[in-house]
């Protein structure tokens, strides 16, 4: 009973703050409305005993919104102000895509014949998740382990490539200028 109440509260909160993202007049408010929406979803995940995923969702989303504030200043024009603004571009296509996705996913969630759940023994929730994980990813575990550092390396490489100043700007044509020519020197002197 309590779980139902909590679930519905979180669900309404998630949807309402999601809508608020598009309705508020300030980019900062939009950012944190998005954060609230994600946090509500993360907390809802706690209700289905996905503790780790739920808490990690909360953690990641809050940090992402905080970092978004940095990008907000760097790249956006007038929006962080308390000025009325519109958050939508290309309205019609976006609405079509969103409605289609929602119909497909919701239809799938409601219409797929899920297997009925056996009565779990106390303490086997973790066991079920583990079994599920092994069934899906089993033989590919090693691949999973190596994919993650590869992804990090890609992100870092992308950021480096996107930077306006390369090594030759910093270190001179022969890469031998020490200390590097930076507008603001870092702490380690690299």
């Amino acid at each position: 009973m309590l779980e139902s109440v909590v679930f519905w509260v979180l669900a309404v909160l998630a949807v309402a703050s999601g809508v608020a993202v598009f309705r508020v007049d300030s980019m900062a408010r939009a950012t944190y409305a998005l954060a609230v929406s994600f946090v509500a979803v993360g907390l809802a995940l706690l209700l289905v005993d996905l503790h780790y995923i739920g808490v990690i969702t909360v953690l990641m989303m809050v940090m992402e919104m905080a970092v978004m504030a940095v990008y907000m200043v760097m790249f956006m024009g007038m929006n962080p102000a308390l000025m009325p603004m519109s958050m939508v571009h290309d309205n019609r296509a976006a609405i079509a895509a969103a409605v289609t996705t929602f119909v497909v996913l919701a239809g799938g969630a409601l219409l797929v014949p899920w297997p009925s759940r056996r009565e779990p023994d106390p303490g086997t929730v973790a066991g079920t998740a583990q079994a599920l994980g092994e069934a899906i990813m089993g033989s590919k575990m090693l691949v999973m382990l190596t994919v993650s550092p590869a992804m990090v390396a890609t992100i870092v490489a992308g950021v480096v490539l996107a930077g306006a100043r390369g090594r030759y700007d910093r270190l001179g044509d022969d890469l031998d200028r020490r200390p590097a020519d930076d507008p603001q020197p870092g702490g380690v002197g690299r």
Partner: protein, 309 residues
């Protein structure tokens, strides 16, 4: 339900006592440094400061985003209270989550949001710069902190704090064989409490930074939140690195209290003794020095953990 509410209030009260103790120590150290004779005034500084702030009027600025501003200010204290919920004292915790460690980490990330919102909402240059300097510093300390928190989890084989504490029973405290993780963790605590060497968000060089435009109850909430976060960080370190309630002779809770108070005293004393680390310098240090060091530490811990099994 009523019982857990009662215990929650007890936990909040104890946290409040720790925060007041930290503030009193800070006041006393300040008084001693000034060379003034009235050390008693230093010890009672938090009480006097609370009275002064309760008496002071609140203020606002033109076009300040009041909703975000006040939310950010209150969120520090709320984050501290949520964190303390998972700390186990002698195996008993208010909410012994299976992922207590990750919960702690999630709450200290909400401090990022809180500090930035406090800086943003005020619509003032100094406050905003303070908020952004906090984010810059956050980018440096957060990853090392997260990896430092992983080390005891790997050693204990669990994310549940009671099990991490239990794994150190008998004197094999984690601080002894993962000192790098402990040092980085303490740095992280100092950072998310906006304290001492990592207090750029509230620095004198920015006319108080995020505190520049706060007065009255709002200021009290933010200051109390800082001390509460410091206290929670110190309390959390005890089951994570310092063996929890482990120790001879005295009962478990007494050891816990003793260790918490000692660590809290060390953290409070750090404030005046070290200059502030400027974020533009600290970012390189965080990524090029701290992160590899912590990763090596986690590697060592992992090797030991695998070898033990």
């Amino acid at each position: 339900m009523a019982e857990s509410l009662f215990w929650a209030l007890v936990a909040a009260f104890l946290l409040g006592c720790l925060a007041v103790a930290a503030a009193s120590l800070d006041g006393a150290l300040g008084a001693r440094g000034r060379g003034a004779g009235n050390l008693a005034g230093g010890w009672s500084a938090p009480l006097a400061e609370t009275a002064r702030l309760m008496r002071q009027r609140r203020r606002t600025l033109v076009a300040a985003d009041v909703l975000l501003w006040r939310t950010g200010g209150a969120a520090l204290l709320v984050a501290a209270l949520l964190k303390v919920a998972v700390v186990p004292v002698d195996g008993w915790a208010l909410a012994d989550l299976a992922v207590g460690l990750v919960w702690f980490n999630a709450m200290d990330v909400t401090v990022w949001a809180a500090v930035w919102l406090t800086g943003w909402g005020a619509n003032s240059a100094h406050a905003l710069i303070g908020g952004y300097r906090f984010l810059a510093q956050g980018l440096a300390y957060e990853l090392p902190l997260m990896f430092a928190l992983t080390a005891p989890a790997v050693a204990a084989g669990s994310l549940r704090l009671a099990e991490v504490e239990a794994a150190q029973r008998g004197g094999a405290w984690f601080v002894l064989w993962m000192p790098v993780a402990f040092a980085v963790y303490c740095l992280g605590v100092v950072a998310f409490s906006v304290w001492g060497p990592l207090s750029v968000a509230a620095g004198v060089d920015l006319a108080g930074g995020v505190l520049a435009e706060l007065s009255g109850v709002d200021r009290l909430l933010v200051l109390a939140g800082r001390y509460a976060l410091l206290a929670t960080g110190a309390a959390f370190a005890v089951p994570m690195f310092l063996g929890g309630a482990d120790g001879p002779l005295l009962p478990g809770w007494a050891w816990f209290a003793l260790k918490t108070l000692l660590l809290l005293a060390v953290l409070v004393a750090l404030k005046r003794r070290l200059p502030v680390l400027r974020p533009d310098r600290f970012v390189e240090v965080g990524w090029l020095v701290l992160l590899p060091a912590v990763l090596l530490q986690v590697l060592v811990v992992s090797v030991v953990a695998v070898w033990r099994y």
